[in-house]
């Protein structure tokens, strides 16, 4: 997660997702932003916090098999730059979504719940907790 260009790809991916949602004629701007936020957080939750193990064999005799991607990141070291980046990015997306939905309560609740679903597993206190 800290190899060259992956953060840029990640940001471009979110931008592309938003443009695609915005291009769907019957979606309004607030709906597009909320969908961007929810889809992004869903994808982040699945790939970083739900799927365990590695999609390829590792020579560590299966040590990583029971860890989520987030727990394997940087060998479990907390507060690395990658961790900070992937913690901050959903928050920024949340601010944007809240702003563009003009703090409408339905959207706000949806976006907040979605944000919490990816923030809580990132807490260092929950490292390795099941």
């Amino acid at each position: 997660m800290n190899s060259r260009g992956i953060w840029l790809s990640y940001v471009l991916g979110i931008g592309l997702l938003h443009i695609v949602l915005l291009s769907i004629p019957f979606f309004s701007v607030p709906v597009a932003w909320t969908l961007t936020n929810v889809i992004h957080n869903l994808g982040m939750y699945v790939f970083l916090h739900a799927v365990k193990g590695t999609p390829f064999e590792t020579p560590d005799q299966g040590k990583a098999r029971l860890l989520t991607h987030w727990e394997q990141l940087d060998y479990g070291v907390q507060f690395t730059s990658s961790r900070k980046f992937f913690t901050i990015s959903p928050i920024i997306l949340y601010f944007l979504a809240s702003f563009y939905t003009k703090y409408d309560s339905t959207h706000f609740i949806l976006n907040t719940a979605s944000l919490l679903s990816v923030l809580i597993p990132k807490l260092p206190q929950l490292h390795g907790v099941r």
């Binding site: 190899s3 060259r4 260009g5 471009l12 193990g53 999609p55 390829f56 064999e57 299966g62």
Partner: protein, 495 residues
């Protein structure tokens, strides 16, 4: 090509090593490619799960599902969804010696590489840029063959016993004496397979992050504490050494009994050469031990092929454990460990290889002996010397030409291993196929054997390659490079 400047500080020769950075656009497009393949991988897994598509790969049977799973489903996600799609470029059967040219069996797949069928045809005389055959001793003619055949007739094909029992033949001892003389160390012992001679018996092991899997496994086998320093990065190594000396063992903070630095001389995936003068200086400064894996450098670098110690003009006594293989430069198999007499005696008694593994096959030992004598010039000819010279010239020529074409090439100027960067996953398969279409065999490597944005073709040069062969290969590479648009380098050779 082997002049050594007798002045200057640590390095007695220019040390030119380059790892050009991945262009940002290429990195982003590489992630896009892996993203597309991952999404389609999940789609295929979904279809297999609901039996919409037949599942070709091995999974646990219905009756076994209550037991502990035998097959880690997710762990071969990449294998079944990425590697399968391009695996026709891997494990190609050859039907000749892996020399400068090789005969390859033609095969086809009618189910997208899940199974292959041989057409019965042989693709003859393919230029071989993939095998480790640095000095070209993988040949089925000449003195090596005669002597190996004679030993085969006399000793048979295998000793079927370990070195500590019936498997210890005079041929093995002859090879050990020869290895010790060749390396310039007290004693050497030959092991039958490389995995075992890696098994260190130490306390703290400082290992380069790109060390070969066998070194990693051997280090783990010893049960020692292992710390990893950045690839060929002396600051990182010194910091680890300093921390190890200052803080000692975890929790008890007792001093480490022994600190062993484990490095490879030539990194076979990076094409880089270890900064041995600096490693030895650090080892002396912090009074630790040094284990040098010369698997790819013995016979391939150095004025008389004695490896990276001679290449830098250093003293072999400064390296505590010299390890190497007979596979890559001598056309043999197995490997050796060289060092002080008490170390070798200890290994002969305690090493896994000496106790459990059958000893080296006598004809193979003879092949290594004859090849090593040829390299040392003890066969009364200068063939060995010429081959070393030829390999060095081939290396410089090929690297320079590839750089001039605009490819991104990793590693050291003098390393016969030339990683040519491909980056995108589809280009890995395309490169292998296009080159074989042009009768050039290359080895391609991708994630997870390399970092995700550093897939590459790993070209291995040989002294058996003549200038004509290299020029043909370069012409094809130039053509395929234009076709696939893989000339990414932004560095241009200053005329």
């Amino acid at each position: 090509n082997h002049h050594i400047a007798h002045n200057g500080a640590l390095y007695k020769r220019p040390f030119n090593e380059a790892f050009e950075e991945t262009p940002m656009l290429v990195a982003v497009l590489t992630y896009v490619g892996y993203g597309v393949l991952t999404l389609f991988g999940y789609l295929r897994d979904f279809l297999r799960y609901w039996k919409i598509e037949t599942c070709h790969n091995t999974t646990d049977r219905e009756e076994q599902l209550d037991f502990v799973p035998l097959y880690q489903d997710f762990e071969n996600f990449y294998t079944r969804n990425l590697y399968m799609r391009i695996r026709d470029s891997w494990n190609r059967p050859i039907c000749s010696v892996p020399g400068a040219r090789v005969d390859m069996m033609e095969r086809v797949s009618h189910d997208y590489n899940w199974t292959f069928k041989y057409t019965g045809k042989v693709i003859k005389d393919v230029i071989n840029l993939g095998s480790y055959n640095y000095l070209g001793y993988a040949q089925n003619n000449g003195p090596l063959r005669e002597s190996a055949a004679k030993v085969l007739a006399q000793y048979g094909a295998g000793s079927c016993s370990t070195r500590q029992e019936m498997g210890n033949l005079d041929k093995h001892e002859e090879l050990e004496r020869l290895v010790a003389r060749f390396l310039g160390v007290d004693h050497g012992t030959d092991m039958c397979n490389c995995m075992d001679e890696q098994s260190e018996n130490g306390c703290l092991i400082l290992s380069d992050e790109l060390n070969h899997a066998s070194l990693v496994l051997g280090a783990r086998l010893s049960g020692a504490t292992i710390r990893v320093f950045k690839h060929n990065n002396m600051q990182s190594l010194e910091k680890l050494l300093k921390d190890a000396i200052v803080y000692g063992q975890p929790r008890t903070h007792r001093p480490w009994k022994k600190i062993l630095i484990v490095v490879e001389a030539i990194y076979s995936m990076e094409g880089s050469i270890v900064r041995l003068p600096e490693v030895i200086a650090l080892k002396k400064k912090y009074k630790s031990y040094l284990y040098l894996d010369e698997a790819h450098s013995i016979g391939a670098v150095g004025p008389s092929g004695r490896g990276v110690v001679e290449y830098f003009g250093l003293n072999p006594q400064d390296v505590d454990i010299m390890m190497g293989t007979f596979t890559k430069s001598f056309g043999g198999a197995g490997g050796y460990i060289g060092g002080k007499k008490e170390l070798i005696d200890y290994l002969r008694v305690h090493s896994h290889s000496a106790v459990y593994a059958t000893s080296l096959s006598p004809p193979v030992v003879e092949q290594s002996i004859t090849a090593m004598k040829s390299v040392m010039g003890e066969d009364g000819t200068t063939i060995g010397k010429q081959r070393i010279q030829q390999l060095s010239e081939n290396t410089k020529y090929f690297r320079r030409r590839l750089k001039k074409m605009g490819f991104i090439i990793y590693g050291n100027e003098d390393s016969p291993i030339i990683p040519l960067m491909l980056y995108m996953p589809a280009k890995i398969g395309a490169f292998g196929r296009e080159m074989l279409k042009r009768h050039v065999a290359v080895v391609v490597v991708g994630f997870p054997a390399t970092p995700i944005i550093e897939s590459r073709a790993r070209i291995c040069l040989s002294a058996a390659h003549t200038r004509e062969i290299l020029d043909i290969a370069l012409k094809e590479l130039d053509e395929v490079g234009d076709l696939l648009q893989i000339k990414y380098s932004r560095h241009r050779l200053v005329p």
